[in-house]
């Protein structure tokens, strides 16, 4: 099985590829900026970190957008962090248009709303291990207990159109932290940094037959 991890020069993809190799030693994991290699892959991982405007720009600078769109329309496709955010129509971060593959807009955590149930102040970025509440049963959640903690680090989240949410998380307010549609699954948290639960999610991705 050939798995392409799309590399558009934004940060560390080594952890993603190593985590996939860890759960599937027989898989061929290719970290690549080559549109042809993305097109030839059986499964595609679309990661991203940093700022979404930079991510969009760097992706386009490498001519990757057509290959990303094609993969998102055809093969099992996993978006991670900014890779989730870029699938949406637009982001408040630099008022950037996204790929528009999924309906919804990426918003920043509102500073004035950042209080927990006890009234304590919540920090932004949302950094650390938070509980992921599964909204729907999905093969990607197989063997992962509802409410398991995953590692998050982000200041923006997707306000997804109804019907897309596969999991949500509470931070100040409840936000969508995983979305699913057809062959697309995308998560705001980092499965490659989420220990046992994260590795299970990646293993589920490799076994997933949408």
């Amino acid at each position: 099985m050939k798995i392409a991890v799309i590399d558009y020069g934004m940060g560390n993809l080594r952890s993603v590829s190593k985590a996939i190799e860890h759960v599937a030693p027989q898989a061929r994991v290719l970290v690549t900026a080559d549109p042809a290699a993305v097109a030839a892959a059986d499964r595609v991982v679309f990661p991203g970190q940093g700022a979404m405007p930079d991510c969009m720009r760097e992706m386009d600078a490498r001519g990757l957008q057509p290959a990303v769109r094609k993969a998102a329309a055809s093969v099992p496709f996993l978006g991670i962090c900014i890779g989730l955010q870029m699938l949406f129509e637009s982001s408040e971060e630099g008022e950037t248009p996204g790929l528009g593959i999924l309906r919804g807009r990426v918003k920043r955590f509102r500073r004035d709303a950042m209080r927990d149930a006890q009234g304590a102040r919540l920090k932004v970025p949302h950094m650390g291990w938070n509980q992921v509440h599964q909204a729907s049963s999905h093969p990607m959640w197989s063997g992962i207990e509802d409410g398991s903690r995953f590692y998050f680090v982000h200041s923006y989240y997707a306000d997804a159109a109804p019907g897309l949410a596969s999991a949500c998380c509470d931070y100040g307010a409840r936000f969508t932290c995983a979305v699913a549609r057809d062959n697309i699954f995308a998560v705001q948290f980092h499965p490659e940094k989420s220990q046992v639960a994260g590795l299970r999610l990646l293993a589920n991705f490799l076994a997933w037959k949408p």
Binding site: N12, R14, S15, K18, H22, G50, K123, S194, G198
Partner: protein
């Protein structure tokens, strides 16, 4: 609810863990990969590496350490020590670090933090602050802490609370706050310092320096207001496991990942 984090810290000198780690069953007490795996199994939420290599020849070894650990341990890794230039940040991130901490170089060249955060995102830039309580006769009763650099050897003249605010504005995603007065004393965090810095910034703060008991860890969160607590010796010497620390904190009503 977001969990408070427990972060064991490893000092690395020329690619080897120093400060005697005394776990039972370890084949090699100096091997960063084996120790990191042990902490991962115990439920560490993150692992911090502090490169204390003095010689320039040994510098590249930390990159290899990060590479090997990141290939086997799937939790966030923070790496600091000797980070001077944006290229240093990039090398560590490419090796598999999730966050890079900048200390002395942030004071010498504050633009570095801005540039690194601008390029790689605030989420991966940690500013480490070594703070020491100072007596200020002009402000009697009003506590003040000064930032020290070069491993705590050089006073900078900067006020630690102000500096934390400034680093947040420059794009730091997190503050790693060490009390030099408490470091190595096992008498607990400087709670007042922790509280002052936590109240001054909107970004997460890791409390460090002085942990000698599990109660100290809980205090850092409950009284200091820290988002994460870092400790070295109580874990290294096998007095407590990370799991024991988290269970204790949970009993004290702190949200942790168990």
């Amino acid at each position: 609810m977001l969990a408070k984090r427990v972060i064991p810290c490893l000092d690395v000198d020329a690619g080897r863990v120093v400060k005697g780690v005394k776990f039972v069953e370890l084949r090699d007490a100096g091997d960063p990969v084996e120790i990191a795996r042990r902490y991962d199994e115990q439920g560490a939420d993150e692992i911090a590496f502090l490169d204390i290599t003095a010689s320039s020849q040994g510098r590249d070894l930390i990159v290899q350490v990060v590479e090997s650990v990141a290939a086997q341990v799937f939790i966030p890794l923070t790496v600091g020590g000797g980070v001077r230039r944006v290229q240093d940040v990039r090398r560590l991130l490419n090796a598999g670090a999730d966050k890079v901490s900048i200390n002395t170089a942030a004071v010498q060249n504050p633009a570095l933090v801005e540039e690194a955060a601008g390029r790689y995102g605030a989420q991966c830039i940690v500013v480490a602050i070594d703070a020491k309580r100072t007596a200020d006769p002009a402000r009697a009763g009003d506590p003040r802490w000064e930032v020290f650099t070069h491993g705590g050897r050089r006073p900078s003249g900067l006020d630690a609370v102000e500096w934390a605010r400034k680093m947040q504005a420059s794009g730091a995603g997190e503050i790693l706050l060490t009390s030099m007065d408490r470091d190595g004393t096992r008498s607990g965090f400087d709670i007042e310092l922790t509280r002052h810095v936590c109240d001054a910034v909107d970004i997460p703060v890791i409390a460090s320096g002085g942990v000698g008991s599990l109660a100290h860890l809980a205090d850092g969160v409950l009284r200091g207001g820290a988002d994460a607590v870092l400790a070295a010796s109580i874990f290294h010497f096998g007095e407590f496991t990370v799991l024991e620390a988290k269970r204790y904190m949970a009993c004290m009503g702190i949200e942790v990942r168990l």
